[in-house]
């Protein structure tokens, strides 16, 4: 039997970080997604130890300030895309305001670290969410396009096709057939 799971990554990681840090006896405070403050002085060698400790969960301690900033931008984008009430300003303005830094600066840092632009990353996230909705809900394309704040179904379809090279329905069909195929092979 195959069981399909859906994770809440932020919650999952937060729980792991809390558990591990408490286990090691640190005093700390979780600030936001992917960020926490030690409430005591921690020597560098301890930090190395912690890095190794977290590695098995795929959690990295990001030393680089730019990486931290990029992670914050990404978090902001995910939050913006998944929010039920879309921001009433342009996303560039929204992100700049949210992080209190100039968009030009954010943009250049983001491209440098991730090989892609903020705009493109937003699209990737939106399409990712669209994929999720196509597969896991009964929403039709019109409903999805409204949910994701697209001006029309055609707009969503075009962007989906530009991003994945296929239409939303082709995507849905392939995923369904693949599940059928793997189920058949496993049973």
């Amino acid at each position: 039997m195959k069981v399909y799971l859906k994770y809440n990554y932020p919650q999952l990681t937060k729980k792991i970080i809390e558990d591990k840090l408490s286990e090691l006896g640190y005093k700390f405070k979780i600030v936001g997604f992917g960020e926490f403050n030690f409430l005591e002085k921690v020597p560098n060698e301890k930090l190395v130890e912690l890095t190794e400790y977290f590695q098995e969960y795929g959690i990295e301690i990001v030393e680089n300030q730019k990486s931290v900033l990029v992670q914050k931008i990404k978090d902001t984008i995910v939050e913006m895309v998944t929010s039920d009430t879309p921001p009433n300003v342009k996303s560039s303005v929204y992100i700049a305001e949210k992080l209190n830094l100039s968009y030009v600066y954010l943009s250049s840092v983001f491209s440098e670290v991730t090989y892609t632009s903020i705009e493109n990353y937003i699209i990737i996230q939106k399409i990712e969410l669209a994929k999720h909705l196509i597969i896991n809900t009964n929403m039709n394309l019109t409903e999805i396009s409204i949910q994701l704040n697209y001006s029309s179904v055609a707009h969503l379809s075009t962007q989906f096709k530009n991003n994945t090279g296929m239409t939303p329905s082709a995507f849905q069909r392939i995923i369904l057939k693949r599940k059928e195929f793997t189920n058949k092979n496993n049973s």
Binding site: Y9, E60, S67, K74, T114, Y115, T116, Y121, I124, Q125, E128, K131, H132, I135, N163, T164, G165, M166, A170, F171, R173, I174, I175, K177, R178, F181, T182
Partner: protein
């Protein structure tokens, strides 16, 4: 970032295509390490070697002697060790049935070999970039499907 390079593998029996491929990555400003293989058997030998560094993205030509792309794809999909590898089919064929079949068999990306070098560069850059996003942003890899 713990990895300095994005590891890329290509299995293609055509020498010119391998040349275009490596040249394209050379000209792209992405830190990549590209290894090429002449056929499916060579590729699988490499992947199954415990010392080998597994690629982030694997490009598979469909039409190869000894072991073709579809056979490699099935073999890779059967082995959990290779779960993290994104598989890109790299082929001349543009038959819809063909494309759908490889996707159903577990391919993530289908690339129809382009007819000019600049397009090739653009496609490879896009593939690596988007794969990088899947790799770094916790996107659901099961939903990673792309046609170029």
């Amino acid at each position: 970032m713990t990895e300095d390079y994005i590891n890329i593998c290509l299995a293609d029996d055509d020498q010119d295509d391998r040349l275009f491929f490596t040249d394209a990555f050379d000209e792209l400003k992405i830190r990549t390490k590209v290894s090429t293989f002449n056929d499916g058997v060579e590729l699988m030998n490499y992947l199954n070697n415990a010392d080998s560094i597994l690629p982030n993205v694997l490009f598979l030509d469909l039409n190869m002697p000894k072991k073709n792309g579809v056979e490699c794809l099935s073999e890779i999909k059967r082995n959990e060790k290779f779960n993290d590898i994104a598989i890109a089919i790299y082929s001349t064929s543009s038959s819809e049935e063909h494309i759908e079949e490889t996707f159903i068999n577990g391919a993530n990306i289908y690339i129809k070999k382009p007819n000019d070098f600049e397009t090739l560069k653009k496609i490879l850059s896009e593939v690596v970039t988007i794969n990088w996003q899947y790799h770094t942003s916790g996107l659901n890899k099961d939903n990673f499907l792309m046609r170029m």
